[in-house]
Amino acid sequence: MLPFIDGALIAAPNDSHGSLGLHCIRAGVATLIEKPLCTTLADAESLVAEAHKAGVTLATGYSTRFRDNTVFLKELLDTREFGTVHRFAHQFGSAGGWAPLSAYNLQRKATGGGVLVVTGTHFLDRMLYLWGYPDQSTLVDDGVNGPEANATATFRFDRGDGQIAGVARYSKTGSLPSGLVIDTEAGIVKMGDSDEAPVILFPRSNPNVAVTIRRRGKPRFDPRISPFQHQLEDFVSATRDKRDPMVDGKQGAASIRLLEELYSHRHVDARRWYRTESAA
């Protein structure tokens, strides 16, 4: 069947992304793999190398990169609209949520991790897009014997004009107010975690004022259209025009590298809440 199709979208359990992706790429089929690209860096590197060898489009399904506010924030940071960035914090939490019928999401082997993969990987991808690869990272989570339900990752970026320190917090056991906060030279920049959330600046000179920053002119991605549709259109046009998709395999692999690095030095925090219980 593969010789008769031009493109494939892989949205199967995470641990099948690698083998299914290789199968498609080796058959010369352009492939969009849902996030995460796969579950190991070795598989990610194979996918990227094979796609390069075969001259086939390989895209990673990080749909939040197709939000206009993500691209707009990147432009604002790159043009130093807010001056130097000092720190950032991102968090997202909900009690429960997405529940595939197979329940594969609860198996560390099948997902490649826990909440950091299932929920957090979207921001990790955006973080790499905004600031590049971090120079240092830590991870504390509560996965005692299974996939973690709560995770806190910290990052440090050494830049020519100083350091950026950041945190990313995710929960599958309770609601957290979601969004991104950036401490900059100009003030606190805040953006909610939704397709149409505005960029808001609380100027250092007057933190009680909220300045909503809007793009002048046409958005890069029409907010009336779902980011998933933008993603698919980008994948199709990249395949037709023989150009790189907006989120290519290499970027997907960078996220896998970061996830693998975080999990390699994770610290498990198995605390108890009642004073009469002994801390683990």
Binding site: R87, A103, N145
Partner: protein
């Protein structure tokens, strides 16, 4: 381990606490059963294997085979709870389960509950269609199964506190948004049970207590007031005590419960002509055509006639009321008027229940959990606070 205990609804707040307690005892073979994987992360993070069932599909309940005890912590939509429990009871009866522990609620007595509901013998008369009403139907089903030979007990907790408490987190959210007001400075009683205390009661109920499906209240057994609860939660919400709004009994009684809407032909016609109903009806091709014809006919009479019809049905259009005051959640505020302290004396007498944790320990545990979960003690707390 001769006792194999199925926990139905294992991924909920109570189910998770029960699973964790029974496993920590090391004396039971525990079979945690969940409906979907979405809410089961706390259990899986500890490596506890889970099985999926659908209470509406009896063919999935084979996993109950060989279980000597069943604890039912399942919840769901109204149209799920009755048929789901029916299937569960039938499977338990057919499988000769030795003991069935059913989690009900003090809500079966109604809201507000009658003064006599200090004890379980008070008449249970919840409003038809309410959550308490559905739970009462369930209680009746459990009592019937008990009459037919299934040893069963029904535990009735009030609001549940302790780590991960939805009740407490909801109150914090309301306090932060100015949506909660104190009645009489919070001096009224607040029925509460710590989730770990409730799990301890469930374990006791596996072996003790009524076998006729009878109800047993499980509470923290102390005179907790709303002031105690809110004093514990206000600092977590970042709210000063003096900034919490107050409302009198009289003011609250005027707005809650909301007045019942009486049946009337005019109201029904208004409802049928409302845009929401017409939008749904228009999905049917025939009804869509009728709607289109009627609207075209009305348009022929001109906009003045259309306005007259609209005015006669809905009255003059009023500009929306805009208020700078945050909106109070009257339903939660009105819980302060319940005025009955449900006694867990029967739990003490029949199952030997003595809460392992005091209210103070419970609130301290919740506080520790909440601070950790929300990242209050992280070096980035000043940043994440910006998101509230």
């Amino acid at each position: 381990m001769s006792r194999r205990i199925a926990i139905v609804g294992a991924s909920g707040l109570v189910g998770t606490a029960v699973v964790e307690r029974l496993l920590s005892e090391g004396r039971y073979e525990v079979v945690p059963l969940i409906h979907t994987s979405g809410n089961a992360w706390r259990l899986t993070s500890q490596g506890i294997p889970l099985k999926q069932i659908d209470l509406l599909d009896k063919s999935t309940l084979g996993v109950l085979g060989g279980c000597t005890h069943v604890v039912n912590c399942s919840r769901g939509e109204d149209d799920f709870m009755i048929p789901g429990l029916r299937n569960l009871l039938e499977v338990a009866q057919a499988g000769k389960v030795k003991r069935f522990v059913h989690l009900s609620s003090v809500a079966v007595y109604g809201d507000p509950p009658p003064p006599l509901s200090v004890t379980e013998d008070a008449p249970a008369e919840p409003a038809k269609g309410s959550y308490g009403w559905v739970k009462l139907q369930q209680d009746t089903m459990v009592a019937k199964a008990a009459k037919e030979g299934l040893s069963a007990i029904t535990l009735c907790p009030p609001n549940i506190g302790g780590p991960s408490s939805y009740f407490f987190t909801q109150l914090i959210t309301l306090l932060r948004a100015g949506g909660f007001a104190l009645v009489e400075d919070g001096a009224t009683c607040c029925n509460i049970v710590d989730v770990a205390n409730l799990a301890a009661a469930v374990e006791l109920a596996l072996d003790h207590g009524p076998d006729d499906g009878g109800r047993v209240f499980v509470t923290d057994q102390v005179d907790v007031t709303w002031r105690d609860v809110i004093r514990g939660l206000a600092p977590l919400a970042g709210v000063e005590w003096d900034d919490i709004p107050e409302i009198t009994r009289k003011e609250l009684a005027q707005v809650w419960p909301p007045p019942k809407e009486h049946m009337s032909v005019t109201r029904t016609v208004k409802h049928l002509l409302s845009s929401d109903v017409r939008r749904v009806l228009r999905k049917d091709p025939l009804l869509g055509r009728v709607d289109q014809t009627l609207r075209a006919a009305m348009a022929r009479f001109g906009s003045a006639a259309e306005s007259r019809v609209r005015k006669s049905l809905y009255g003059s259009l009023r500009p929306p009321q805009v208020s700078a005051e945050p909106e109070l959640n009257y339903q939660i505020c009105a819980q302060q008027l319940r005025g009955v302290r449900h006694s867990s004396a029967r739990a003490t007498q029949t199952i030997g229940y003595r809460p392992p944790y005091s209210f103070q320990e419970s609130m301290a545990a919740f506080t520790a959990w909440y601070r950790w979960h929300q990242g209050f003690d992280s070096p980035f707390a000043d940043m994440t606070r910006e998101l509230y």
